[in-house]
């Protein structure tokens, strides 16, 4: 048995340093060019423009907008709700994926299709759907309009599929034999889940959670009808941005946008670090 990791073959190794980093074949050069232009036009330039707009009023205007109690309350509500929704999704989404992959029951295929409905619906329709059951004319006597619970439910609704759909394929790939091996080594069902299954799922759960979180802090459509938009109570960041724009306060809108952007980046990076930690500790 020989060492599996062999050093790369000679020529490739010796040519690299002299050719420098930017020696690319024509095909990959064109590919990289298209990729960069595409990414710049769609993402990087608009992002820079927003940051520029936020910075236009100077630091004091930027800080002033964000420390304004009403804006701050909206931001805080958004982030807190998004975090709660993400935690719930990570758990429930994994359970739903588990049920869909491991269990057999009547209507399993139907449920598998229904999971995607929150993705397929226009978000304003999602709001309408929730209102028809939990609105002022609720047949079950449960009115969520103009409450934080309502925001929570709406966010859960629109972010439900993310974790399910990222965990499901990974769960399908997991070998049942590894679980049987753990059992024959004496591991209980719970230990097997914690030490053998979960570590393989964590990257998928994290990826799904990141997507869900990003969606939750930016959600607009489904909240328009439900949140009621009461300052300090049920006003979320995306609706606050709309208010700034309606009040012709471009810089204010941009400031909130930049902060949301920062939060999203921080959370996604944090989740990634967390996932690596958990995977390594197993």
């Amino acid at each position: 048995m020989t060492n599996v990791i062999a050093p790369p073959a000679g020529p490739a190794r010796t040519r690299r340093p002299s050719g420098g980093l930017f020696r690319l074949s024509t095909a990959s050069g064109i590919g990289l060019g298209i990729g960069l232009v595409w990414f710049s036009v769609l993402v990087l330039l608009p992002l820079s423009a927003v940051v520029g707009a936020a910075a236009a009023g100077g630091w004091s205007a930027f800080a002033g907008t964000l420390t304004d109690p009403q804006t701050f309350a909206a931001l805080r509500l958004t982030v807190v709700e998004a975090v709660l929704v993400t935690v719930v999704n990570a758990v429930i989404g994994t359970i739903v994926a588990w049920v869909l992959v491991r269990d057999d029951f009547v209507g399993k295929r139907l449920l598998d299709v229904v999971i995607d409905i929150p993705f397929a619906l226009p978000t304003i329709v999602a709001g309408l759907v929730l209102l028809s059951l939990y609105g002022p004319d609720s047949p079950v006597g449960f009115n969520i309009v103009n409450t934080r619970t309502g925001i929570f439910l709406a966010l859960l609704f629109v972010t439900l599929p993310f974790v399910v759909r990222t965990v499901q394929p990974v769960l399908l790939e997991i070998e049942v034999e590894a679980e049987e091996a753990a059992a024959s080594l004496g591991a209980s069902r719970f230990t097997t889940f914690r030490r053998v299954i979960l570590p393989s799922l964590v990257p998928a759960i994290t990826a799904g959670s990141s997507l869900g979180f990003a969606r939750a802090i930016s959600e607009f459509g489904s909240l328009v009808l439900i949140s009621g938009n009461t300052p300090y109570q049920t006003e979320v960041a995306s609706l606050k941005i709309l208010k700034f724009l309606e009040g012709d306060n471009q810089a204010g809108a941009a400031a909130v946008a930049v902060l949301l952007l920062l939060v999203a980046v921080v959370v996604i990076v944090a989740l990634d670090i967390l996932s690596r930690r958990v995977a390594r500790r197993a």
């Binding site: 048995m1 599996v4 990791i5 070998e175 034999e177 590894a178 049987e180 091996a181 753990a182 059992a183 024959s184 080594l185 004496g186 591991a187 209980s188 230990t191 030490r195 053998v196 570590p199 393989s200 995977a279 197993a282």
Partner: protein
């Protein structure tokens, strides 16, 4: 007796996987469950391990009735065909798993892991991930992991089935030597008769859910209980309605014996050191004869030539009852 299986039955719907299986395996022995794919041997192994449950019958391990014990409590080491290693754990962590579950002190775990990795020659790979190992190395890792908990029996389900021929042969010899060193009661499932004959102390031949014969490799080869065992343990051909090994047929170019049958050579083929000759007897039987290359050259056999064939003295023959698998 280390493993005692009594009256095991198992059905999957209409399909009978195992039918009234009775086997007892003495402590310290290396046993092969041999048979064609789908014959029920893996199912039996999984029932012994507690990974499957029988419809009826009992399993006892080391004198303890294990029929209702879950896999976790049977203290059985199990090795799978496709390794089933924990992909996200290093080699050392894989081996340590069973010991950590048993909450052994850290120092003891480290020491035992060290010892086992030495035993399976993987010491220098302790901090690698399984994905960085070859198939043979992964299977040795799986073996070390199973041995770590000092199981009362070690069960291997087609352990070398996923490996290429050369590695398979190496690991097979190695398993035999390992068993002579460790002496744990071992049962392995295989469909490769050569593997079973070479490695096992005792072979249990299983076919269509039933035990066909139990015995040492020599017993099975020399005194097969029936035509199935005979044909499964080595190449066979039919001569005058009897199953016989092709190398047990005497072939002459002149009618020297009264009991010889006249035949015509239809094909002569040389494979390495041996020659395989197909002859068609006067009563329409296709007979395969294997002889050494020099003997064949001496006889100067050619297609179309008339020859005489008969069972050599002391040749083993079994009446042909069932259809012989095509060779």
């Amino acid at each position: 007796m280390s493993i005692e299986v009594k009256g095991i039955n198992k059905q999957y719907g209409d399909f009978v996987a195992l039918e009234n299986i009775n086997v007892s395996l003495p402590t310290g022995q290396l046993t092969a469950l041999l048979g064609p794919s789908g014959g029920g041997k893996s199912t039996l192994l999984r029932i012994i391990a507690g990974l499957d449950t029988a419809d009826s019958g009992t399993v006892s391990i080391e004198g303890v009735d294990a029929t209702r014990l879950p896999a976790q409590k049977r203290n059985v080491g199990f090795v799978f065909q496709h390794y089933a290693v924990f992909k996200h754990m290093t080699v050392a962590k894989n081996v340590a798993f069973g010991l950590e579950i048993r909450k052994r002190p850290k120092a003891e775990v480290a020491e035992r892991v060290d010892e086992l990795l030495k035993l399976v020659h993987l010491s220098q790979f302790a901090h690698r991930l399984p994905s960085q190992l070859s198939g043979g190395q992964r299977q040795r890792l799986a073996l070390a992991r199973a041995l770590a908990v000092e199981p009362s029996v070690l069960l291997l389900d087609e352990p070398f089935g996923a490996l290429d021929a050369k590695v398979r042969k190496e690991l097979r010899d190695w398993l035999r030597r390992l068993h002579d060193e460790v002496h744990v009661t071992t049962v392995f499932v295989t469909h490769d008769q050569e593997e079973a004959l070479e490695v096992a102390d005792e072979i249990v031949v299983i076919n269509e859910g039933r035990v066909e014969q139990i015995g040492t490799p020599d017993q099975l080869y020399d005194e097969p209980a029936n035509d199935f065992v005979m044909s499964f343990l080595g190449e066979v051909t039919t001569l005058e309605g009897q199953l016989i090994r092709p190398h047990d047929i005497e072939i002459t170019v002149m009618p020297q014996h009264d009991d010889a049958v006249q035949a015509v050579v239809s094909r002569s083929l040389r494979i390495g050191f041996e020659a395989r000759v197909q002859v068609l007897t006067d009563n329409g039987e296709e007979v395969t004869v294997v002889l050494t290359r020099s003997h064949a050259r001496h006889l100067g056999l050619q297609a179309g030539q008339t020859v005489w064939v008969r069972a050599a003295q002391g040749a083993l023959t079994v009446p042909s009852l069932r259809a012989v698998p095509a060779i």
